[in-house]
Subunit: 127 residues, 2 copies
DNA sequence: TCAACACTTCATGAGTAATTGAAACGATGG
DNA sequence: CCATCGTTTCAATTACTCATGAAGTGTTGA
């Protein structure tokens, strides 16, 4: 990931609704909105726009705007299936952005890395 | 770091000039702008606004605006010394943002973590 | 083919961010 | 105390982003 891409991704994420969409899509809907809750490591089916709209409680047109913003930033991919459009988080892009912040922008600064790895208060370590 | 803080930080970083400022400050100026180049693990002296201005090639007033945006987002701290104001990157806040993206927003998703840890083409691993 | 559905696009208006140059502020040195 | 230097604040302009509702596109099923 280069700087222009990172700037696009940062702009896309700097919005409450879009951050909520990412949060929703990263779990492929196993938190809410998707009926089946399988193990977390299979192929990500994504979530149709309508389900996302009802989850984040925004109008269809507004959601479409935010989804295309995330898609243009490379953070989401869209796939049409029947009359629905399924959106899926691009995990590589998301990781790429974090990698960019950590290693390009912060040059792998040890203090930044340490804080990034640190566990939040009363939470299990994920990294 | 919570969501409002993360949104502020993301907005602050979603700007070319401000990203450049962060990049400049993370090296405490050992890349350019600061005359002495010591080892990277001591106390960070920060960089005065004037030096930052000449490095990123923006007018003083515009720089002041961007610096205070970063400061309000919690990413920078300012310290007045004599007639100059030294700005220093808050590495904990920077790491906290990355931690938030990785573990809150992406829920520690293994694919995201893997991409985040992956080395860039022909670059040493930092994390 | 027609109506319903899922979603996107368009037009419009409101709010917010970015840029510029001038003026103000506080610290320093003569 | 006055001139200067480094920096911030202010006012005005421009540009962008966000939100809303209506109209449009394409798909499905009767």
């Amino acid at each position: 990931m280069d700087q222009p891409q990172a700037l696009d991704a940062l702009s896309a994420l700097a919005n409450e609704t879009r951050l909520q969409i990412v949060r929703l899509l990263v779990g492929r809907g196993h938190e809410a909105g998707c009926m089946r809750a399988g193990p977390a490591t299979e192929e990500d089916p994504g979530l149709p726009a309508g389900v996302i709209a009802s989850e984040v409680a925004v109008s269809a047109s507004r959601l479409s705007f935010h989804l295309s913003a995330l898609e243009q930033a490379g953070l989401l991919s869209a796939e049409k299936r029947g009359r629905q459009v399924f959106y899926r988080l691009d995990r590589r892009a998301m990781g790429g952005l974090i990698h960019y912040l950590l290693n390009d922008c912060c040059r792998g600064d040890p203090q930044v890395s340490a804080c990034c790895r640190a566990v939040a208060p009363s939470a299990g370590r994920h990294l």
